[in-house]
Amino acid sequence: MGLILKDVSKTFVGKKVVDNISIELEKPGVFGLLGTNGARKNYDYSYVTGNIKKR
């Protein structure tokens, strides 16, 4: 059974930063999540509220 993500999305400050992502890791192994570099340093991110705002 393992790990299943199905159509997961997240919107921050009006933008869909995660758009319908699905991941299936049904047996032991390494799943590679790859992507372009982030621009996160321009934003303040709160772990507590999950809010994000531009600096």
Binding site: G2, K10, V18, G29, G35
Partner: protein
């Protein structure tokens, strides 16, 4: 704004609330309070003024380990990670690479079944990269599930069976790495000859990507081109030390796919 990978990871771990979709582990919906995953966040951070062994025990206890088991596990892992000599030091005294190994240990110490590693190799020298790599391979052989986020394609290629490439939060490519690579025709051939073979390469209108001391990396559109070139070289009595047809690397595929979506 490109927060896709790390945001996905945070939702997976239950740290961040998702807006839609489902996340389950072994058939049960993931909630932060009922998961015991291991996590190495992208933000590196150890408590600088706390002794390494103390913070390792602290993190292990947070994850439900008792002090005795934690101490034993730390001692065993410290040998593998080559950080034994640092256990009694305050974390700030360690080099960045060693701090990262300590932080990596907090992710695996409590023997979680699912481990999420956000850029585990960034900033590590080749020796420490090798140590971490071998641990990961060993963890998988022990039945662990590992999600690794990275932008270093070469490392990912070595042991990821499944991959997902995100650009601006959207999936641009997903699936089994082997199958993905096999779906592309060969795009390069490496030839090591005993002499300059440029005129033969030019004869077939092929371009040389790189050449060092008669070691050629030649761009091709299909395998047939490579075989035709080889035939010609052999006919001309050129001595070939190496002939290797290559499929696109994950780096090639990534660039192509991400470039497509721009």
């Amino acid at each position: 704004m490109e927060l896709g990978k790390t945001t996905t990871i945070r939702m997976l771990l239950g740290i961040l609330k998702k807006d839609s979709g489902e996340i389950s582990w072994n058939g049960k919906i993931v909630k932060r309070k009922n998961v015991n995953f291991g996590y190495l966040p992208e933000e590196r951070g150890v408590y600088p003024k706390v002794k390494v062994i103390e913070q390792l025990i602290y993190f292990a206890q947070l994850k439900g380990m008792n002090k005795q088991d934690a101490t034993k596990a730390i001692s065993e892992w410290a040998k593998v990670l080559k950080i034994e000599e640092y256990l009694e030091m305050t974390a700030e005294k360690l080099s960045k690479g060693n701090q990262q190994k300590v932080q990596f240990l907090t992710a695996i110490l409590h023997d979680p079944e699912l481990i999420v590693l956000d850029e585990p190799f960034s900033g590590l020298d080749p020796v420490n990269t090798e140590i971490i790599k071998n641990i990961i391979i060993d963890l998988v052989s022990k039945g662990k599930y590992i999600i690794m986020s990275a932008h270093q394609m070469a490392t990912i290629e070595e042991f990821c069976s499944e991959i997902l490439i995100l650009n601006r939060g959207k999936t641009v490519l997903k699936g089994n790495l082997k199958d993905i690579k096999n779906s592309y025709p060969a795009n390069r051939v490496h030839i090591e000859a005993n002499q300059d073979i440029k005129k033969y390469i030019d004869k077939f209108n092929l371009s040389i990507e790189n050449v060092v001391d008669n070691n050629y990396t030649i761009n091709i559109s299909n395998e047939e081109q490579a075989h035709k070139l080889l035939e010609e070289l052999v006919k001309s009595s050129i001595i070939i030390d190496k002939f290797e047809i290559k499929k696109p690397t994950l780096n090639d595929i990534f660039i192509e796919k991400v470039g497509e979506t721009k």
